[in-house]
Symmetry: C3
Subunit: 466 residues, 3 copies
């Protein structure tokens, strides 16, 4: 399978437009870590890819955490004495402190002010703030809006509910020949913010869609989860599945105009780290590799010391380093169709590496085999050889059963695809054999959605959303 | 214990002044590798810290070496025909070649000249020269002094004695909870030279004084010894004690205006190497780490291949790289109170790292524990976290029983003290436990001065000075 | 043995002149991978060093390859209608596509043209082209020559033979105390090209000559072989000898004006890699170390994964990176006597490292031994020590039975020869002993030419040329 090749059959402009359209479709929904916003979002994803939507009741213990009450919101506003909505949730769902408890009150500006959040450095932008685990209420507004508030009484309403309910997440499992899995995780809990993380959500969905059309070596598991609590919940409920995760990526903030950044897994030298670094080095200028750190996105949980999974995080601009981060300026203009399509291409390239990163045994290890008599070498001696011939020499020289094709690509400085194609040509010529433990087992006929099923039927009793 | 915190309660100007005063008090004494100069020096140190003064007889074999005869000197001069002292030991004890045999003679300039040592490049300075192991005599003088000598007869007198006696050294043992030791070694054999090594002597004494006021995890052993032969003697007489040395520092030349230099132990990757490098990186600009080399100070002996102790050397300007080295220009002006105090602070920081460099086990290794419910995280989501919160995440993520706090500080780029405080907070919150083998044993009640005692009572029969 | 010291007794100008003279003597011969050209070349070499000339019949299988038919050529030309030789093999043997099949024909320019090879970018130079393994014929000529050809009929003659015969190669075995071998391999199949590889051939011959005059620790095997097929043939016929190869060098293109380049063995960290890197670092400015790659010279075969021998390649300008490569401009002016002599010096230095790279045990490992009493240290204390004293301290400090002298040279930054001489002085003073497994066994009295003999007598039945 060559995913990138498949993807490149499509018009890249069209690919970018579709990704951006999907983000635009989901943009208005007020998501949070629980509630109907996330349900609606997952339902839209399920229209595109096979996916289970799973629900876990409030109060369930997940490691050191507890599933919180479910939050929903219909409306919120600050009205002046004349009934004008000065701050209006219906205009922008960032206006309410996410997870605000219900409130209906009239109060003086002085009482209201401690509950108002603004960004003085960017006086036109609305910040995004949350209070998931401490009951509180508040409004986020532009600093200019706040400055315009006169010393008066205001009608303040938050028409929300915070009650026992469920935490909801989506899981898309695509079985391959191996039960070993590639985990793709993306958080879906942010309200009207485009880069963080509708970009990740859209690219992950498109990637899953692309994979459904192909025979896969690895099995793939896509998680669409609320940040932190969702990853913790999934890990708590899938202690055994976790052992199958051979590679993983958190996709987030990959639509902005910045260069790609990959934050390595805690292990630092996992195959996924090597694979993404290789792809970025050959794919594009201006990308960068970051060392692991325990602050960030859901790799925090996957890379906690008890799991220490080989999961890195692929982004464009790094969270917290650009002013639009977690503000109303992270809107649909902030993400670019071209960049979304490019991120999807990188993901496809990474999967191409993972799928094809096999180890071979040179069947003529003593001296070079005579490539010329197999028409795999230039017949005229004296001038230079082509890159593809060079790739063949590299593959033959390093195929000692130890070096993977990615190792060979790295040592030769050649792109993985060139090395991988050279290996294919040499294997067809009978010069290489696959190392035994890399030969894929036959696909397990009943493995499709097995994991999702077992979740659904487990004694922990998740309820399947319909 | 936080030694630096204790030290920083004092006025740094006062600390610097006291260090310089102690150097000034000792400056006039004519020290050598044996004799009364070193005895007087050790007696002054013993007024400040608990210390054994040990003596080993001339002729004692210490590995490949033999304790030399004891040298003492009362006077030395070169007089002209009119009886004027042209070169006078009483004006500066560098004037005599250290360890010169006794001499009383009148001789022509021509005969005298081969015994005169000068520094033509620095014509006003007197060089420091020695001849410990080859019987010789000589005078060191400024080049200008020598140029002024006319072709005449001179009365030459060296009123010294070179007879069977003892080699004298001091040993200060401060017991801690562990019998594992930190060795601090400083040479005390140089006459009126300030940086080399009254600076090291003064800082080591102050450091020992500071440590006596605290409960210690490690035991500490301070050696005040004549260079080379003193270290060899101590090692020869303490073959078993040596096994307890877990970390060590040679302190020398740490009062001049230059930046700090740390020469790594022969091992190159010992904990002391990591600790000092960490402290210097965070403590100050302009410091540098040097690779081990077998030329230098007493680390030469501690790092000989049979011992290979984890002992590095902390200096300011590196020996031999500044013109004042081993000349009369290495005087009390050459060392700065501020620099002495700063060196003491660095030593205190290093000890803080060693004392607190423990390994912990994260008791919630699967996913992050919920810091928010323990008031260890900001409750409002959406904005950045503080460095101390970040430090907590690092400690939790890497506390797998393998990484030490210093490892975590290095990988996170945060100062050790921040990481160490985060670990303390997390341990108090019940989120970490100390790795079993790092739990200090109970203090051995009788361990104080044990080593000194056993030395005193050993069959090698050292005589205790009174 | 100190080969460089021996070499440096000769006048370097004379050494360079002799090397260049030998190249000049061999330059006119039309060599190929088989045939009389290579036989004549080997015969000239055998006049200088003890060497077996071995022949392997056409059709013999050597791994994946087969010894080709033997090619010989007497004449070749392109004549115009008036009988003028426009392209004449007798003027330059590069004019014929090496291994061209016999041909006698008259043909139009149009038919001739596909068989003409030129270099449009260097219109005065004749390219060097071959067609060993695909029967073909052709002429190589300057681009200007080709442009001058009018649309006419030409008489084309290649008076060659391509018939069953032999592949010929030379093997010079110099036995040392150890049966472990150093392999020096150089290809001898190129016709009138000076740098590639008469330079390598001349230096290898001179090196072997130099070695015959000395007692050797290692045994040395020099191979003078046709490129690729020669190395494959030798390896196929010497599967057991190969196991004795401890270090190896391919010598090629070492006469041009460029800086020295060393391409590392596939292992990358073999002793030969360390040794050559050390010598180049201390020997000269402008040298460079290249990582291994599977394209190049006969190291391709020695470093094939089944053998993975510690064989690197020493060159000056790297093949393919200079325009003269594989053209008539690689002539006797392109190689410089001074550079040839310098390359020989580097080879001698490398062999000095290999021969003397022993491991010692410090017999006084606890503290420094007292060098002063053995007159191995300056007696006057206080001033700096000399490099040779410093070298002694390094050798003593690191002679723990693990570090080789080359390790010590690398870590100290001192030249190997200084370290090696220090070790000798210390061993003579009774301070070091050789590590047991480094002590050379006694020379095997009958080992001389054993390998060559056994080849000659093997069932594979090589015929010895006379």
């Amino acid at each position: 399978m060559r995913l990138l090749k498949e993807l490149d059959r499509k018009d890249p402009v069209e690919v970018g437009r579709e990704l951006h359209d999907f983000a635009s479709e989901l943009f208005p929904i007020c998501r949070s870590i629980t509630g109907n916003g996330i349900r609606q979002t997952l339902t839209r994803i399920r229209q595109r890819i096979p996916m289970e939507i799973l629900e876990v009741p409030t109060g369930t213990r997940v490691f050191d955490w507890t599933i919180p009450k479910e939050w929903n919101i219909r409306d919120a506003y600050i009205k002046d004495a004349t009934g004008n909505r000065l701050v209006d949730f219906k205009q922008c769902n960032l206006h309410v402190l996410n997870y605000s408890v219900p409130l209906q009150a009239t109060m003086a500006l002085k009482q209201l002010k401690p509950h108002l959040h603004t960004l003085p450095e960017y006086p036109d932008w609305i910040p995004y703030r949350t209070s998931y685990y401490k009951e509180d209420w508040g409004f986020c507004l532009s600093h200019n809006q706040m400055l315009a508030l006169r010393d008066s009484d205001y009608e303040v309403c938050i028409d929300s509910t915070l009650t026992d309910g469920h935490l909801t997440y989506g899981e898309c499992y695509l079985p391959g020949s191996l039960t070993d899995e590639v985990l793709i995780s993306t958080h879906v809990c942010h309200p009207s913010l485009a880069n963080d993380n509708l970009s990740g959500l859209a690219v992950a969905t498109a990637l899953a869609e692309l994979l459904t059309e192909h025979d896969l070596r690895y099995s793939y598991r896509f998680l669409f989860i609320p940040g932190t609590i969702g990853a913790i919940t999934w890990l708590a409920r899938n202690r055994e599945t976790v052992e199958r995760v051979r590679h993983g990526l958190v996709l987030t903030g990959i639509g902005d105009a910045g260069g790609l950044h990959y934050k390595k897994s805690r292990r630092g030298n996992a195959e996924i780290d090597q694979a993404v670094a290789h792809v970025l080095r050959h794919h594009c200028e201006g990308s960068a590799i970051l060392e692991f750190s325990p602050y960030g996105y859901d790799e925090r949980q996957y890379c906690s010391p008890g799991f220490n999974l080989p999961v890195g995080c692929l982004m464009r601009s790094v969270w917290g380093t650009f002013p639009e981060y977690h503000t109303s300026a992270d809107n649909l203009d902030f993400i670019k169709p071209h960049q979304l399509a490019d991120s999807l291409r990188v993901c496809a390239s990474v999967i191409d590496v993972l799928e094809n990163n096999l180890r071979y045994q040179n069947l003529n290890p003593f001296c070079e085999p005579q490539l010329g008599k197999r028409n795999l070498y230039r017949s005229r001696g004296g001038d230079a050889i082509a890159m593809e011939t060079n790739a063949r020499l590299w593959v033959l020289n390093l195929s000692d059963g130890e070096h993977s094709l990615l190792d060979i690509a790295e040592r030769s400085g050649l792109p993985f695809s060139t090395i991988s194609q050279a290996a294919e040509v040499l294997r067809e010529a009978g010069l290489l054999s696959l190392v035994a433990e890399d030969v894929p087992e036959k696909a397990q006929p009943n493995s499709n959605f097995d994991a999702g099923m077992s979740l659904a039927q487990s004694s922990r009793g998740p309820r399947r959303s319909t």
